[in-house]
């Protein structure tokens, strides 16, 4: 692999998936009850994108990874304590909401602005990574718009694998319908890759990497500019938790034979 990439990973924070979420009406639109109190994690698919970026950078000498993250500074700082242990990167922080109820277009504008401001950005070596969908808005929209704002028309979503050839060409596997992957060849950077789960395990914590990262993370957080991100033009008529709660019938003392008969009758509509 001869190309030294500039890999920019876009990833924000979301509430820990095990937390109970409740929507409430906020001053400017819907929000989550006690949002600032909820424990947060890096958005899961962006998390995978970060591992893939680190792996690619390791295999392409001279490459560098940036993590561009929009979120409330205090929450970003908490989450970075964990993320920093996993892979070497330079943080570019933007202070703003990480809510799912903001508009992708406004988030993308803030992210693209931060990417353009990275010193020495070289479009011919640029790969923009991120999760293909967030665990908050889940629209799969932000990465596309970031790509458009950067003038990148080679975009891939739901990526599970990226293989880079000796000539810098890329083979990309994207998720499509029915448990299949579409295989594409791209001549090379620049490109946008919205990652799904990828193929790499979560790296173990590395305290040395963590310490090196933290030296850059704290100044990055201190100098993070505020971004005005909202949902202009959108009116939420309602945001509600699903009301459907099932009256679960718990069957404890039925024999396996009877359970099997009942399941088969249910499956076959007998």
């Amino acid at each position: 692999m001869s190309t030294a990439y500039q890999i920019v990973v876009c990833g924000s924070i979301v509430p820990d998936p095990l937390q109970t979420l409740e929507p409430i009406a906020g001053a400017t639109g819907p929000t989550l009850k006690n949002e600032m109190m909820l424990p947060a994690v890096l958005d899961p698919w962006a998390w995978h994108a970060l591992f893939e970026a680190a792996s690619l950078a390791k295999n392409a000498p001279g490459s560098k990874v940036w993590l561009v993250s929009l979120g409330p500074k205090a929450k970003l700082q908490q989450v970075m304590m964990t993320v920093a242990q996993k892979a070497p990167f330079e943080l570019v922080a933007i202070d703003g909401p990480a809510s799912g109820f903001t508009e992708a277009a406004e988030v993308a504008a803030a992210l693209a602005g931060a990417i353009k401001a990275i010193p020495g950005l070289d479009m011919s070596r640029l790969l923009v990574f991120g999760g293909w969908e967030s665990a908050s808005r889940g629209a799969g929209a932000t990465m596309q718009i970031v790509g458009e704002l950067l003038g990148i028309v080679n975009q891939f979503q739901g990526v599970d694998k990226l293989s880079v050839g000796a000539d810098g060409s890329m083979e990309i596997l994207e998720r499509i319908e029915g448990g299949k992957h579409q295989v594409s060849k791209c001549v090379g950077a620049p490109a946008v890759l919205g990652w799904a789960t990828g193929s790499l395990p979560e790296p173990p914590n590395n305290p040395q990497v963590g310490m090196a990262n933290m030296r850059g993370i704290m100044p990055a957080l201190q100098k993070a500019g505020a971004a005005k991100v909202g949902a202009e033009g959108v009116t939420f008529a309602s945001v509600a938790l699903p009301k459907q709660r099932r009256e679960t019938k718990i069957v404890k003392d039925m024999s396996a034979d009877d359970i099997a008969r009942e399941i088969v009758a249910w499956i076959t509509n007998a």
């Binding site: 665990a135 889940g138 994207e174 992957h181 396996a256 008969r261």
Partner: protein, 346 residues
């Protein structure tokens, strides 16, 4: 008055997919209720047969971008084609089926048109003359109904949310829209599709039943041993008998990374839940899975739900399943498979 453009891509072999016809049905209803103008935009290698298939849909114009280079589902050519069609139509609302192909470009298209995009839309209504959509937030944990004043508004509609359009075929007159692709758009070439062998295919979006195998299948059983090969054989047998679609919880998929016993028929693509799929099936049967929230959110669109688990206090017992059988899934599924085999005369 809105101008609604239904944006469809034509499948290489099958013409218009079912989801395309569902989208057409939803868009027609929305247009009818609001008095909007309706147009159809088509992208693909050959368009006429598909246009003829929906010639009787009442669209005032059929616009198309046709050619070999537009048969490939890739961002650069699809977004350029869609942009040209939307501009030619003067569309204020663009409704597309939420296929992987349109999901890849919906937001980029909206950006180029100076509008907004909403994907994974599950309902579309025209109340009081204005268009309202429903979509889920935080991975299917809360549902919002919303309107947008920005135009054009690009909406990608999910599968199974509306009855497919049915109507007369005929001969449609397609207005060709010219698109010149840039050199950058041609840097990507789609070379094929990677799919499991047909007898190994476990993800079946149109199946009546979702069968979820949780991590318990690979854990130590009553005899203190794991029984992954038997688990795999039982699951395979069940899938062969029922043609169900196979799902897994995240933990089961992750076992393959952790060096634990694994089920070789599982991949990340089978994962249902927070970082997996949210499939739509009339029924779902969960086995050896605790029904924790990150997984159970993927069951949002499964109508009838049953679970088999040894823990009577698992997540399924807390209002997430209709029936929870507290039992050993190995034993139950052995008998289920035997009954199904007998029923099918095997």
């Amino acid at each position: 008055m809105e101008t609604i453009l239904i944006l469809l891509h034509v499948e290489k072999e099958a013409g218009l997919a079912k989801l395309a016809l569902e989208t057409l049905g939803a868009a027609k209803d929305a247009a009818g209720a609001s008095g909007a103008k309706l147009m159809v935009g088509l992208v693909g290698e050959n368009l006429q047969a598909a246009a003829n298939q929906i010639a009787g849909c009442g669209a005032s114009r059929f616009l198309g971008v046709e050619g070999v280079e537009f048969g490939q589902p890739r961002y650069g050519s699809d977004v350029a084609a869609a942009e040209a069609i939307c501009r030619a139509a003067g569309a204020t609302v663009v409704i597309a089926p939420a296929t992987s192909r349109w999901n890849r470009v919906a937001a980029g298209l909206a950006h180029r048109l100076g509008g907004r995009a909403d994907t994974h839309v599950t309902n579309l209504t025209s109340e009081g003359g204005g268009l309202t959509i429903s979509r889920w937030y935080y991975r299917q944990r809360m549902e919002a109904a919303m309107r947008c004043t920005q135009r054009p508004w690009v909406i990608a509609l999910e599968a199974g949310c509306h009855a497919p359009w049915k109507g007369d075929a005929g001969t449609a007159k397609i207005e060709a829209v010219k698109v010149s692709l840039t050199e950058a758009a041609n840097r990507t070439t789609v070379t094929g599709v990677k799919a499991p062998a047909s007898d190994q295919q476990t993800i079946r979006p149109d199946a009546e039943l979702l069968f979820v195998a949780g991590a318990g299948w690979t854990k130590k059983q009553a005899d203190g041993q794991t029984h992954a090969p038997e688990a795999e054989s039982l699951i395979r047998g069940f899938l062969q008998h029922t043609k169900a679609s196979l799902g897994s919880s995240k933990s089961l998929v992750d076992l393959s990374k952790d060096g634990q016993a694994v089920l070789t028929l599982m991949t990340h693509l089978n994962q249902v839940g927070q970082t997996g799929a949210t499939p739509r099936h009339p029924k779902g049967l969960s086995t050896c899975c605790h029904g924790e929230e990150p997984h159970a959110v993927g069951w949002r669109f499964i109508n009838e739900r049953r679970a088999v688990n040894l823990d009577p206090n698992c997540g399924w017992a807390r209002g997430k399943a209709d029936v929870l059988y507290v039992a050993d899934a190995f034993e139950v599924m052995r008998k289920v498979n035997a009954l199904l085999a007998a029923k099918q005369g095997k």
